[in-house]
Amino acid sequence: MGDILNIVLKRLGLGLLTLLVISVIIFGAVELLPGDIAEAVLGQGATKENVAAMREQLGLDRAAPIRYFEWLGGAVTGDFGNSLVSQKPVSEAIGSRFANTLFLAVYAAVIAVPVAIFLGILVALYRNTVFDRVANVLTLTSISAPEFFLGYVLILFFAVKWGMFPAISNIDDDMSLLDKLERTFLPALTMVLVVVAHMMRMTRASIINLLASPYVEMARLKGVPAWKVIVKHTLPNAWAPIINVVALNLAYLITGVVLVEVVFVYPGIGQMLVDSVTKRDFPVVQACCLIFAGTFILLNLAADIGSILTNPRLRHPK
């Protein structure tokens, strides 16, 4: 067991290090601005006094490394400074929106993961048949379509033509869960379509990869039925890649949410990020980027650790 613990700890340390480097990049990128934040935000028409006042307010007169550590210290405790546009604390605005984004992502994941794994196993079982070919073309199409295309197609049919679900998913905290689920059904479905396609293809590929291994050949020669080969012999070894696939796609969900949120006017953190990019509200952009990147890295980390833990060869060392 010591081995596994060692590997997991190493992986955790590496993840934290990556996160740290990324925080440097996110902070440092803003430092790359031609001029500085004050000049960039106030524009060319600003008087010298205005720029100086803003520099003062943001503490730009101090060295960048000092400000970085202050910013990082704040970020760890949930304080991202004040928005340049509204002058209110960033964390206030982000808190509830992040919860909304998570809600949407979890909603989509709960539908997508079981469906994708089931279908993935099914197409692996019936590989190279008409069923598999059709599934291949369909998933490829769904991956290739931009999220906003899928979103608008769903709006056109489910909201405009058939009037089954609302086209705009403006939710607030007072709504009941059922209401929320109904309102966010279309954005969740959009993400499900994209993610299921990805996961299905990856599950299929990882299972088919295993089907070529000698012990599967052996099981077949023994006369084990096809589904049993998959469920009993292949699946235990396929968990590692499948967990990987799931985590990667959850990471994708968290970031792919940006476009979907904009299409459905959903009050999430992605929409906020896009708004602040257009307004050049840097503290908000930095905070959102850090949150997205952090979640992304955490999920990737979870994928790695999950696949280490489920690896039979590591669990039963000789």
């Binding site: 990556t18 803003v30 931009p146 608008y152 086209a167 970031t255 904009v262 602040s276």
Partner: protein
């Protein structure tokens, strides 16, 4: 029961029976499942649903026909060696090639094909289609069709440039890292790991918020974001090649790194790299489309598919299809490229199981 419904089912059931009789298992399965689907659709959606099924089947049959003829056409006009390869291509790949060919023609000859200029205002805002305008007008009264045609040039062109730059940087970096090895390789790989652990759309938004949105920064930012993918592939492909004996021999001959990359490694790494180029193009194209959709890509009045969808999205709430056409155009090209890449990967990997 009208003649359409009777004819519809008669055709499907007759077709499946014939297929069953002649032992064409695939065709039978296809036709019969279509029959079952139409039963359900017909009961739920009535005659109009059956019409949609018919139209869909028609479109699929038409595309299959076009792909088949295009493949035959290519087999005839191409020289012997390439013709041999094309002949074994599946219909989906031929379809992909045909779509790519069409887009190229549209992009190159955009000014000739489009009836109006891309930013020429010719009518009222959102005017419906008439004999002057094939698809109606957009939110400023510009001809939608002309803008879609110009979009083929602008959106695809930008994505292509960004992909080429990303590919150039990534491939050279990767090949260099694999050939040189040692410290340089370690350093590059760590940098790449970090860049790849930031989600691409988020990274793009961060960089664009800082450097602003003009075409040149857009291309450079996207290239920086996607070069790491190419780097990794190029490095791993080249990593398998540099351990070969002939590389050793070349090194002993005293050849320089650049010669090794160009003459020894690159020719053996082309096949996977070309397939990666296609995939990379899809990613870049989708990212560009997403950014334009968010209003951060190519700036107006230049016609661009992503921003066209956003600008005309209000039409969708009136049940109009036109705003979906540019989005569909994006999807179609990505699908087409994916089909071709799929076929190339299948060919080069020999994935038979």
């Amino acid at each position: 029961m009208n003649y359409f419904i009777i004819g519809f089912y008669a055709l499907l059931i007759g077709g499946s029976s014939l297929a069953a009789f002649y032992q064409k298992r695939t065709i039978f399965l296809l036709l019969f499942s279509l029959t079952l689907v139409s039963f359900v659709m017909g009961i739920v959606g009535g005659e109009s649903a059956l019409w949609s099924v018919t139209i869909m089947a028609g479109i699929i049959a038409f595309s299959a026909g076009v792909s088949y003829s295009f493949r035959e056409f290519l087999v005839i006009i191409l020289p012997k060696e390439s013709a041999k390869i094309i002949r074994t291509a599946p219909l989906t790949a031929a379809f992909g090639l045909f779509i790519i060919f069409t887009y190229t023609i549209t992009g190159v000859f955009a000014p000739v094909i489009a009836p109006y200029g891309e930013s020429e205002i010719i009518s009222q805002a959102f005017e419906p289609a008439n004999e002057k305008m094939l698809l109606g007008a957009d939110q400023l009264g510009r001809d939608m069709f002309s803008r879609i045609v110009y979009g083929a040039r602008n959106s695809v062109g930008l994505a292509l440039l960004a992909t080429l730059l990303a590919f150039f940087m990534g491939a050279i970096g990767g090949l260099l890292a694999a050939t040189k090895g040692g410290k340089f390789d370690q350093f590059m790989s760590r940098v790449i790991d970090v860049v790849m652990s930031i989600p691409s759309l988020i990274f793009a938004l961060l960089l664009l918020s800082i450097f602003g949105t003009n075409v040149v920064t857009l291309i450079i930012v996207i290239a920086i974001i996607y070069a790491p993918r190419v780097f990794r592939l190029a490095r791993s492909v080249a990593g398998n090649i540099v351990v070969m004996d002939y590389i050793e021999a070349a090194k002993l001959r005293g050849e320089g790194t650049w010669y090794l990359i160009r003459k020894e490694v690159l020719p053996n790494a082309t096949a996977p790299l070309i397939a990666e180029f296609g995939l990379e193009f899809c990613f870049v194209f989708l990212l560009v489309a997403g950014l334009s959709f968010l209003g951060l890509g190519i700036q107006p009045p230049t016609a661009d598919w992503g921003s066209m969808v956003r600008e005309n999205a209000t039409l969708i709430s009136f049940g109009e299809l036109t705003p979906l056409i540019p989005a569909g155009a994006i999807a179609l090209l990505t699908v087409a490229v994916n089909f071709v890449v799929d076929w190339m990967l299948y060919r080069s990997s020999g994935l038979k199981e």
